[in-house]
Amino acid sequence: MIGYILKRLGLALLVALAVSAIAFFLLRLSGDIAMAIAGEGAREEDLAIIRQTYGLDRPLIIQYADWLWQTLKGNFGTSIYFKTEVSKLVLDKLPTTILLGFLALGFALLISIPLGVLAAVYPNTWIDRLALAIAVVGQALPNFFFALILVMIFSISLRWLPVSGSATWLHFVMPTIALGYYVAPAFMRLIRAGMIEVLSADYIRTARAKGLPAGKIVFKHALRNAVVPVVALTAVQLGFLLGGSVVIETIFALDGLGYLAYQSITYKDFPVMQIIVLLLSVVYVLLTLASDIANAWLDPRIRVA
């Protein structure tokens, strides 16, 4: 198991390195940093001075190596727009985004596991149809639109919840629901399909032949085998929730990483963009690694590989 984890960790590092390179070069292709610093309509001489000061006149590969070295040393550079350390900026916003990501994931699992299991245990009944309807709506509705509906109902009509900000836990209720509901259908369908397949397996018949109660058969013998693919999806979805909360954070003015990413793109804040892309890719890679390890734990047959 230890060897397996080390092997996967080495691979994960390589992937993160490759992503950092691609992100660096792609961002450089998207615009001129000197222009971003100097502002529109700057004179050519000023641009040349800026290029020299920031080392932008060097070959791209050298710049990348320099940036990578500085980043590895923990020196993430200074924001062009906010004029503060990028590391401080990112660390300030990160907790909000992580909190929202996990809350949304928790909400998604909270509704998708029971609904998926119920739909599989009672296929083609009204329960199954109801679960399907909930899934279809969740998948079809763009999450910004759903967020606005929530705002209309709970903030404007009922006046139960605050519209924007991140001061209290009440501020997180609607963003959590809006973001979580968007990813729930994928879980629900996967759990339903997995459970239906597993419930017809021979070992379920064995469990029934042992006289075990229905709850133990469904939750111990079936669900454990049906959640293996769900774990992999969880990692990917959590990555999506962390990286993809840009829209929701912007709508609810939640002061998180997504909102920062949105701002850095608007203001062509290259150092911030680069670190956010790198950070998200590392998070993705780590989550994938975590899901592989969790899978190996859940399905002992994978451990051998």
Partner: protein, 324 residues
Amino acid sequence: MTDTILEVDGLSVDIATPRGTLHAVRDISFSVRRGETLCLVGESGCGKSMTSLAIMDLLPKAAKRNARRLAFAGQDLSKASKRQINALRGNRMAMIFQEPMTALNPAYTIGNQLIEAYRQHKNASEAEARERAIFLLSKVGIASAAERLGQYPHQLSGGLRQRVMIAMALMCGPELLIADEPTTALDVTIQAQILRLLADLQRELGIAMLLITHDLGIVARIADRVAVMYAGQIVEEGPTASLFQSPKHPYTQGLIDCIPVPGRTVPGGRLGVIPGVVPSLVGDIRGCSFRDRCSRTQPICSQAPPVYETPDGQRWRCILEDAA
């Protein structure tokens, strides 16, 4: 305490299919006495597995069970609640399946799966259940039983898994063991070992066994009584010796002619063959279900055949009172 552990009277299993209702089991009756081995034999698709699943209430959703009486130790299973059935299953009646490769849950250790039924039914502690599991694993011939408890099914061979399944079925000390083709999926060398194991355990523990098989060689070795199934019906049943010495039903005779017997079968000679295939079980069958393949068919076979019985309990369903 009655002498009969399992009493099946008028059991039918109907399966709804797109082409109509498939009558997999048609009004069969038999009983198993305490401590005896009854073999249910027949070709693939004759309804013998459905019969065993019907007794254990494990039929697939599309299948419907009907019985005048289906009693285990005097308790009518067709009137029992789910709770009452669960209290019997895995406890007083246990089952071994054909596919040891898939019948164990891949996500849990052997120990976990052995222990759970015992804890469920006997209200026992983890330690007691473990002790019982180790005892039974050694009993079914598994070496270093204590270490096996921590292993997963994929780490065991097919033969070992079937031994584990047998140990699992014996955990709660059942009075009836239903074994549905327990050796079919195994290598021939392993088959003999598993069969001997089952026969020894059955004798030693005094369990009644309902063994389902298509292999008459197995039947001759371990059955006390035999019931021959054809097209969802029991066409002949009786004590093993009588049935093999003087089979009455042409189908039983055909089956027995199909097995090679050392000394009797001429080397290089032809074994018996029953021509034709099993009739479709969709819809009703009028008259004798075997008449299309029988060499002694008469016009009267299109009507329901009578049932004859000898004093020692051999019964058959044929117009021929004594075919021999």
